[in-house]
Symmetry: C2
Subunit: 229 residues, 2 copies
DNA sequence: CGGGGTATTGAGACAAATCAACCTTGGTGG
DNA sequence: CCACCAAGGTTGATTTGTCTCAATACCCCG
């Protein structure tokens, strides 16, 4: 019912979804959005549930993951304000999503979103670009997990976090996720992940006191380890 | 130019891209298609090249891969007749593609494909469904590479091949790719891949004489190892 | 009848998983 | 205020799965 504070409005307007979009379309989107608050650890999407909404993180951060019957978990990605969440196959989510910290999420019902999509070519274009970007990220991720060794995988993760950080020239990054989260993202155990942090620190590539704050000392070294184009 | 033999016409008509499409749209698509033949090992797409076409494999099979500066290779997937090839980011392919065997590929220039896309909502829907399917496959793939051990990764690969084989109740599958291809697909070396084949054979899950032909002896065991939903 | 590309198998090295101890931090309640 | 506890992080010792290196077998093709 469009009771979205200014934060949400700004977030939406500057998101990839609304790039080059007409004012009226943005307003229409905003009109059907609902802002939801989540506490740390709370689940936004339950794996397998019907996909009745798409989501746009506004503050905080999310973890997207898949858990197998055997209890193994693969973290598919981490989302930050401006990212998009909601792709699905045959109307169901094949992954779950949870808040890494207190987070606010804009929420659009798909049945009311789709008419907008049908009427606005620009919106379609944006959605398809986002879809391609997600695909690209997945290819990078798959490459890292399939081909790199532990410390290089961590470099890939940290480099990605760093480049996505709004503070582009900032050397410090905030790491809202746990070692277990990072491990499951990289296909490693939490112990190996921790050792990889230690190794990058010993090599002088990063420095950190707090486990949830890291300073990039040598971005070039980190980047070449990460091998991101 | 529409000089496509019957094979191509049938292939196109039954592809996911043309599901529920009007006759006229299929004809329009066919009109701008060109059928290209590739020999075993020949490259269809060079990694990094401008994306000027999209592709629809008609016969044979393809390998989609990414090679890093360091020479490591991650095979992103294998394509068979009816599959789709052509997603890209900012107009360039972030992967290469090559023929695993003699193959024929239908080829649509993007600049002439996009007007069709703009005019036909059904075609857009199909493309978006395909995009979601690719995404889904990538999630499965990432899960396998990130969380499974060698023989379970191979089970995942074989199970996927089996389910996609046109012959659904057939127990035999043809494996056009080499052990190195499979290894790079699964994040393993070719030796480990070969050992995994031997292990599945010793466990009585598969049987094979020829390395490029495998019979699924115990589909349930294979499926539970693969853990595909 | 070679000969290159491919597959299998073995032995040893090595990276990551596993098992386990210990430390820190933040929150809770006596 | 401090004891207590739980959750997360680091580090160490050991095991194990996969990689690496190497030898041999195979087979299609020229």
């Amino acid at each position: 019912m469009a009771k979205s504070p200014k934060l949400a409005e700004d977030m939406l307007a500057h998101s990839d979804l609304c790039r080059d979009l007409s004012q009226s379309s943005v307003q229409a989107l905003l009109a059907l959005a609902r802002l939801e608050d989540y506490t740390s650890g709370q689940r936004i999407i339950e794996q397998g549930q019907r996909a009745t909404s798409i989501y746009l993180p506004c503050s905080g951060s999310l973890r997207v993951e898949r858990v197998s019957a055997g209890g193994q978990r693969q973290v598919m990605g981490f989302l930050f304000p401006g990212d998009f969440l909601g792709f699905n196959s045959s109307g169901h989510f094949l992954y779950g999503a949870a808040a890494l910290e207190a987070s606010a999420v804009l929420c659009f019902p798909t049945d009311r979103f789709e008419p907008l999509l049908a009427s606005d070519p620009k919106l379609r274009e944006n959605l398809s670009r986002i879809s391609n970007a997600v695909l690209t990220r997945l290819l990078d991720h798959l490459f890292a997990v399939g081909q790199k060794r532990a410390h290089a995988r961590l470099a890939f993760f940290l480099f990605g976090l760093w480049r996505r950080g709004a503070s582009s020239q900032q050397r410090e990054i905030r790491i809202p996720m746990t070692r277990a989260d990072i491990g499951d993202y990289l296909g490693l155990t939490l112990e190996t992940t921790s050792r990889a942090f230690t190794r990058l620190r010993d090599e002088g590539i990063i420095s950190s006191t707090d486990p949830h704050r890291v300073a990039i000392v040598d971005p070039d070294a980190l980047g070449s380890l990460a091998e991101v184009d």
